[in-house]
């Protein structure tokens, strides 16, 4: 983690000469800059996270008078066949993996295309930006109810129009896989694309126009400009968007909960969905915390790979 994140920032190592001058601000300056955030971070993120580890080592239910020590059993049980949660948990991890694999590329690429479209000057630009951004303003509760109705296999609008266009018209978008995955990924792209698009828009602002002008003068095609100016300029932002989208997809829960209810046979029940069932409905916070940490560990490993890839790209 350490060395790799460092390398992702597109920056040259600070010149030694300035290093000495920076002393003028005193050794405490960076810590003072960090302090306000640090207090919030330690109070509401770090401490709860450490406390969460403690929870995961107990048969924890904060409502019961005692919390029996469980050691690493909550973790080990997930790897034991025939345990209460093992099979269900890995099935839910699989669901999360499927969703992530299909949604992340779409949510990284399509918003970039849309951001580049919307970065041009044309009449009505503000209106179009608002159009693409609006779905994200809606909460998952609304989007879920809306799409459950639109995607319904027997009475839904999508199938109704597909039938009009001469297709079969009984695709089970919410009750059978793989259709349910198409439905969930599709609606998630519709819903959250605006979020990534505005991050890209901000990133595109940061690319100096002179670079494009220079490329034009050299006779570069649009594709050349995209490859040699836009992408390198967006690299830190791209890494950020990729990481964030990966996390958002891995934390997907509301869509499944509201639209498929995990059907069929819990194959669209995602990890967070399952964790919240175990932790909030069955009041088994210890097990739920252990699952959360295993999921987090997997995400960290995947993201490390991402950071690595970005770094290699940089070096090549």
């Amino acid at each position: 983690m350490t060395s790799t994140t460092e390398a992702t920032a597109v920056e040259r190592p600070p010149a030694r000469s300035t290093g000495r001058r920076r002393r003028r601000s005193g050794w405490a300056t960076p810590y003072l800059f960090l302090a306000p955030y640090g207090v919030l971070f330690i109070g509401f993120i770090l401490a709860p996270a450490i406390y969460g580890i403690w929870i995961s080592l107990h048969d924890y239910n904060y409502l019961l008078p005692n919390q029996p020590w469980a050691g690493l059993n909550n973790y080990f049980d997930l790897f034991k066949s025939g345990s209460r949660d093992g099979a269900d948990f890995w099935r839910s991890i699989r669901a999360t993996a499927i969703f992530t694999v299909f949604s992340v590329p779409l949510l990284v690429v399509i918003p970039l295309a849309i951001a580049m479209l919307l970065n041009r000057k044309f009449p009505g630009r503000t209106f179009f930006r608002a159009v693409f951004f609006t779905p994200y303003v809606l909460g998952v509760a609304v989007v879920g109810v809306l799409f459950r109705f639109l995607l319904d296999p027997t009475i839904g609008m999508l199938n109704f129009y597909l039938e009009k266009l001469g297709f079969a018209g009984d695709y089970p978008w919410t009750t059978q896989v793989p259709w349910a995955w198409v439905g969930l990924v599709g609606m998630t792209v519709w819903w959250t694309l605006g979020f990534n698009a505005i991050i890209y828009l901000a990133g595109l602002q940061d690319i100096s126009p002179e670079l494009y002008e220079a490329a034009e003068v050299d006779g570069a095609t649009a594709w050349d400009k995209f490859r040699n100016v836009t992408l390198p300029g967006l690299r830190p932002v791209l890494l950020f968007v990729l990481t964030l989208t990966l996390l958002a997809s891995a934390n997907m829960f509301g869509q499944s909960y509201l639209i498929t209810k995990g059907a069929p046979e819990n194959s669209t029940r995602t990890a967070i969905y399952y964790i919240s069932q175990v932790g909030l409905q069955q009041y088994r916070q210890g097990v739920a915390a252990a699952m959360s940490y295993i999921l987090a560990l997997m995400l960290i490993l995947i993201s490390l790979l991402n950071f690595r890839l970005f770094r290699e790209k940089e070096e090549s």
Binding site: L40, A47, I50, N61, I155, K261, Q281
Partner: protein, 445 residues
Amino acid sequence: MNQLNVPLSRRGFMGAAGAVGGALALAACGGKSTPPGAGAGPTASGAGTAYNGPNVTLAFWNGWTGADGDYAKQMVSQFNSETKNVKVNMNVFQWADFFQKMPAAVTSGNGPDIAVMHIDAIPTQAAQRVIVPIDAVANSLKLNQGDYAEAVWQGGIYKDQRYGIPIDVHCLGLFYNKDVFEKAGLDPEKPPTNKDEYMAALEAMKSKGIQGSWVSPFQFTGGLMYQSLLWQFGGELFNEDVSKATWDSEGGIAALTFMTDLVKNGYSPKNVGQDADYVALKNGRNALNWQGIWQVNEVTKLTTTKIGLAELPKIGEKGGVWGNSHQFVLPRTQGSDENKVNAAAYFVNWFTQNSADWAKSGKVPAVESLAESSEFTSIEGLQPFAKEVPDVHFPPAVAGISDAMTAMYDAVNAAVLGKSDPASALRSAANKASQILAQNKKKYG
């Protein structure tokens, strides 16, 4: 909002940091954030039927959102205008959130003074000390077993102590589309009452190109339909001492097979989404729907189609109806204020006496004499449901029972969606549920 006058000062931040230390320290000594409070009960004799103490304000929490809440709100404001020295403040949250929110609030000392819960949640919340025994209130109100249906009366009891005072029963009934009946040449005033009539009706509709009995693969209402059928076929969800799930018995398999056959034989589409069965019924594309009493108020107001309401048909050899009940519970409070408890008892008594009003929200009063009163019998559409009450079953009063029930709902989902045959889906779900029951026994004692 007054807290917002607190300046966001360094002290606030320090306080935050300090609290973290505190939480960690607490964690280190067992993670209890509050001392266990003792249960409370009214001690004053004659409590419940009158309240003569000093003025008190009661926080009353329930999950009656939307239209339900409107009826309850009216009743509460009527109570407040009738009662000088008790003011009830009602607060509603979605039922989906209620059983996380209320325990958290109670634990942190912010809980309500009186609340409503479903009968199947009571054992779990009693075991978690979110609610306290309410025997004293029940005694002071002179509640009497003879006034209630057996299952309703027994349901509020956990480990020989009463935790819930019944308000209502809400159960499944048969909703049928009269227009479709006419189209299929059936008598719209004669809904099917047994298996033969049910199948004959479906056959008549099928010949007219209508799939007449949509089967939902989800808990609402496919899972509820399954339980009703299971009891009708002589099955039980659990064995006598609730150590094993028994829905993989002959009756249980027959019940689920009946449902999957409806799909197989074309009386229902293959992939019925959540609520699609009910929406299709309102639109005349489905004719028979095993649906909850909570939809009565909507279907009686429809203008484009006529929906009939009837008791569930007896597909098996006996009556069996899924049902649930709202019950008053007493949350554990950090200090027990006797006046509040007495006032709460008085409010519970008042609300129960007036539960025929409450029934207008689409419920059957739990007290049998009220269910027979003209006030209730004049409410359109609810009578078939009242007739079913003797056949209503509730889950056994065991803490964590819903964890085990979830496995059964999963089996229904798998079988109805054609992922697995009924017998093997039920068998593996029952094994899993039995494992869960054993674990819960250890956890809750």
